[in-house]
């Protein structure tokens, strides 16, 4: 007899299918490298008016890069994944969920920019990196368990190690940039490797070139 746990597992399969090819990790990695680079560049600028302007414009661009990455992920899947192992149109989140996600992204980016430009709270720039590393690590662990994706545990370990390593270096806000840069590189490499394996294991059916 099919149990409720079996049914829940079946209903969860489309979410796991989203992670079958490595494309999400690859795109996420590239976006994080961009964020890390933007943070490092911003911190290397002289602290004049240009610095303030940079931190007013760049967070908005970084938020947009998140949306662009989502769009690019879908397009890559349509080109590489769906013709090989099947088309799936995921359920769109409701309007409320979308607005909330956009709101959280904007508020987070704004808060980060404000902290960097104006926030001179003692030691904050040294504790932010290990804290964010820890949060990201926990998020990867949760994603790994929920989506039955053990490879995400590797990213959880990398996030934790990088967070604490760069935090201990006391580089200020630049350490956050370096953490994102290296974590992004790790995610992109892992995603690229998984994508390569996926493409090798799943050949394009004959006569199905897009």
């Amino acid at each position: 007899m099919t149990t409720n746990a079996d049914l829940r597992d079946l209903e969860e399969r489309p979410k796991r299918y989203w992670n079958v090819d490595g494309i999400p990790e690859l795109m996420m990695g590239l976006v994080w490298m961009l964020w890390g680079g933007a943070l490092i560049l911003g911190e290397s600028l002289p602290k004049d008016r240009g610095h303030g302007w940079y931190w007013m414009v760049v967070p908005a661009a970084l938020v947009l890069s998140g949306f662009a990455s989502n769009w690019a992920t879908k397009k890559l899947k349509e080109k590489l994944t769906y013709p090989r192992t099947g088309w799936v149109e995921m359920k769109e989140p409701g309007r409320g969920v979308r607005l909330m996600a956009a709101g959280i992204a904007v508020v987070s980016a704004g808060a980060l920019a404000l902290m960097i430009v104006a926030g001179k709270a003692e030691g904050m720039e040294h504790t932010a990196t290990p804290s964010i590393g820890l949060v990201l690590s926990l998020a990867f662990v949760v994603a790994s368990v929920r989506q039955k994706a053990p490879h995400m545990l590797a990213l959880a370990g990398v996030a934790l190690v990088l967070g604490f390593t760069f935090g201990m270096m006391k580089l200020g806000w630049t350490s956050l940039g370096w953490m994102f840069l290296w974590l992004g590189l790790a995610a992109a490499l892992l995603g690229g490797w998984r994508l390569r394996r996926y493409l090798a294991a799943n050949r394009m059916p004959e006569g199905s070139s897009l």
């Binding site: 079946l10 299918y17 192992t85 099947g86 199905s208």
Partner: protein, 97 residues
Amino acid sequence: MTDLDRVIHEPARLLIVALLAGVKEADFLWLLRESGLTKGNLSSHLGKLEEAGYVEIEKTFRGKIPLTMARLTRPGSKAFKEYKQRMNGLLAKSGGS
């Protein structure tokens, strides 16, 4: 047990409906891979689900690729939800999980 929807209660059809419940729509190839059914079996069960009005089948193209897309209809979603509730009730009565 007699209250259970016989169309959905059949294991292969329950499998198809549960898979479709998690997506907006999916194509035949994905259902074939995820369900592990044979092409003939999957076609036949999709046909029965379509007959019952639980699933909509649409033949379409994405680029040059011909696709057979399947999606759960509103009555199909409702029937699946009710089926799960009834199963929960039955399991609770029998002391199962």
